[in-house]
Symmetry: C2
Subunit: 471 residues, 2 copies
């Protein structure tokens, strides 16, 4: 007879739909031989996206340093049928191995290799036009490398939430890492609702109304989370909305947690980091980035970083917020080294003017063009589905259509489950991310190969138009 134990209620109550009942049912159907189309998660390489050649060439060499000299020998030997590894790739691998000193097999500093953090700082400064010598410049001491962006978000929420009355403002809908972690930490989720019909934009009142209401209930709101481009909405936030967030943070003494992991998935549209919008205002800003998304799609490598800007002092101590993040990081010893090195490659890329650079740019363009074309294609099918509408500039890897009226007061969970069972299409229903009461949505990652989309979407259209007509 198995023992029965109590388990932390916050952990039990945590929900994470991206890997919830619908994907679990898809796995069962797949095991029974049904062809399912996994659009429940932003996992590009699981759907055939090929890694960027340069990244993997370098990682492969870093795993086995003796390969560098061996490949140099091959470069000069010109063996028939064996493509040589370009000299510029060997140079980068050699540089990394020299600067990493202890290689891939040793714990690094808790915050990650310093040379990688320096490269991240240069990347931020170049991206946002910060003069490296200025007080706006990013620096390695306030950058923490992380196992994907999730680890950074968890550290922040664990620090900011002390008691049930500590609140975090999060957009609804949102990526459920935030709601799940707030629940696990025993804090209070304070929801704000970007305006769907105007493309998921924000007004001052959008955020201030729930903030006031939370305060009235005695909730101490610590920070506001913004996901830009959005997840699950995919929408790119306009600068006016961003300025409203900054104004609210300033007036109400909030920190901003900017989840910017989709910053490369903007498909030619303007995008701005919160670091740039804040400029020289002393508002605490914690920004997250990841190697899992963008055109990289290196989810499995779990690389990412957290930048602290204007880190606050810690009440009742002589510590900075940075010191405490460092302590959090040190208990996990260090982020995985291959994820760290991938982050280095993500923020630096191959040297200008080399053949590897040209290849990298072609691959990048091809991935992003394909993603955008697929998003546009899927969205055009939504126009043929009765009652379905989809808002916002296309960004990230997701569309989040509103489903209109569903029959027999069924919700979007039932819709998505039936859609899966009857067409093989695996999505996540809107309730898994949160949504305005009375609305129904789903999130679809626009990642499957084009022919798969062309095959399934007409079937979905037909299924949908039948489904919504059922009395």
């Amino acid at each position: 007879m198995a023992l029965t134990v109590p388990v932390n209620r916050n952990v039990l109550e945590m929900e994470y739909a991206v890997r919830g009942p619908i994907p679990q049912r898809a796995a069962e159907l797949q095991a029974q031989g049904m062809a399912t189309i996994p659009c429940n998660i932003g996992n590009p390489q699981a759907l055939g996206q090929r890694p960027i050649t340069f990244y993997r060439q370098v990682l492969s060499l870093v795993e086995q340093p003796s390969q560098v000299a061996r490949e140099r020998a091959l470069l000069s030997a010109a063996t028939a049928g064996v493509e040589p590894v370009p000299a510029e790739v060997l140079d980068v691998a050699e540089e990394i191995l020299e600067r990493a000193r202890t290689g891939a097999g040793a714990y690094t500093e808790s915050a990650g290799f310093r040379f990688v953090r320096e490269a991240v700082a240069r990347f931020i400064n170049a991206r946002d036009g910060f003069d490296p010598g200025s007080k706006l410049a990013a620096g390695p001491d306030t950058i923490f490398l992380t196992d994907g962006a999730s680890a950074g978000a968890k550290h922040l929420l664990e620090m900011l939430i002390s008691q049930p009355g500590d609140g975090i403002l999060i957009p609804i809908p949102q990526y459920p890492l935030y709601s799940a972690t707030i629940t696990r930490c025993g804090g209070t989720q304070v929801s704000y609702f970007p305006d769907e019909d105007s493309g998921w934009t924000l007004s001052r009142e959008t955020v201030e109304a729930p903030l006031r209401e939370a305060r009235r209930r005695g909730v101490r709101v610590r920070a506001i989370v913004v996901i830009n481009p959005g997840n699950p909405t995919g929408a790119i936030l306009d600068e006016t909305s961003m300025r409203e967030v900054v104004a609210i943070a300033r007036e109400h003494g909030l920190a901003i947690i900017a989840d910017e992991v989709y910053q490369d998935n903007t498909y030619g549209q303007p995008w701005s980091s919160f670091a740039k919008v804040i400029g020289d205002e002393p508002i605490p800003l914690f920004s997250l980035h990841s190697a899992s998304k963008g055109f990289h799609g290196e989810c499995g490598h779990r690389g990412g970083y957290l930048e602290l800007r204007n880190p606050p002092r810690v009440q009742g101590t002589n510590l900075s917020f940075t010191d405490v993040v460092m302590k959090q990081a040190s208990v996990s010893l260090c982020p995985n080294t291959m994820g760290q090195i991938l982050t280095f490659l993500m923020v630096s890329g191959p040297r200008e003017g080399t053949p590897s650079r040209a290849l990298y740019l072609r691959e990048r363009q091809q991935v992003l063009d394909t993603l955008h074309a697929k998003a546009t294609m899927i969205r055009s099918y939504f126009d043929r589905m009765e009652g379905v509408e989809c808002f916002g500039r296309i960004g990230a890897m997701y569309l989040f259509p509103r489903l209109g009226t569903l029959p027999r007061s069924s919700g979007d969970f039932e819709y998505c489950m039936r859609l899966l069972e009857e067409t093989g299409m695996c999505t996540v229903n809107g309730a898994g991310f949160g949504q305005r009461a009375g609305t129904h949505h789903l999130r679809i990652a626009f990642l499957p190969p084009r022919d798969m989309i062309e095959e399934v979407m007409p079937r979905w259209v037909e299924w949908h138009n039948r489904y919504v007509k059922q009395g």
Copy 2:
């Protein structure tokens, strides 16, 4: 003017000496040009231990799958000056790539690649003599791959601790991951004190006395942590002590958390897993293993696993403990893939009868022999230090000598800091792990190259004998 924010007190109170003030001071001294000897942490490859060739050959190929065909071409081309990669290595890489399907760049299942979990199950069954068909057999559904062992330990403690009155029995001294995580989760550390003078063994009363005392104070003790071989003590637990732990767990309804990351660091002495000692008793057992230690020393890759044995039911739900661990794992999406594949290599190794197997066995033996020789050497120097005694069978990567009486009522923190400043030797003082009141210790990782040990130890002996004489 920087904002001041409150930060979760549990996070602020958490302590982690392995990366605390002494190592931080060492980093400063190093930056000032002093040669320091980093014995504060079990990080073998930072001290010159070379990776196991087979592991890195395979990882390198998995990072870049096209390399497999290229290396096969090289095998037949026999290019002068270019050592070919053995066919059996190419076979293993090919098998992994086939079984992993989505490669290193996609999220895996939350628990990790199934084929790796199956390999872990086979490893446990072979190690402990469990018939794969029997009810004792390990299976992939109760194994979770993790980013190092730390991630597994954190999941467990986050689940088991709900309130300040929830207690976890931990040995003193202990690896501070446990005390730090209990503090962060807001639980109660219930300390038990293995008997140093008899080689860190356990009697029934050793554990039951603090358990009774905790219960008298209203603490609900949920689990007992055992680290075997020990960290920081390095001591290998005898089977009699293990049977006492099992009896206590049985009688008091406790789960056992068995930290067995040093199971390969036993240097020819008998060692048994808790899974084996428990046998068919229905006691919940959560075991941790890691690719960071052993002869692998692959700390940076953050590979490891957690096995749940006799997972309990969760009170007030229809869930198993396994379901909740799965949910925890899913919020982090998945452990890093290269750590997962390294774990596969750790539990399977190169195929029997191949040249790669022979090389692997030689490398393994060489690493373990060298570690044991260095431990013995350092321990013999302790004999020449006034008042210093060191107990227990040598295991893990650490010695934890008792320092005897220190002058001017200074503690071991001051001893270790002075030792660092005056000899460059960086250790961690006993208080960082906990110790019996009134005693002084330090932990030293026996990893530096032999010549470095031979150079520094006589200076330490001399310094020590001078230090303890100061009035």
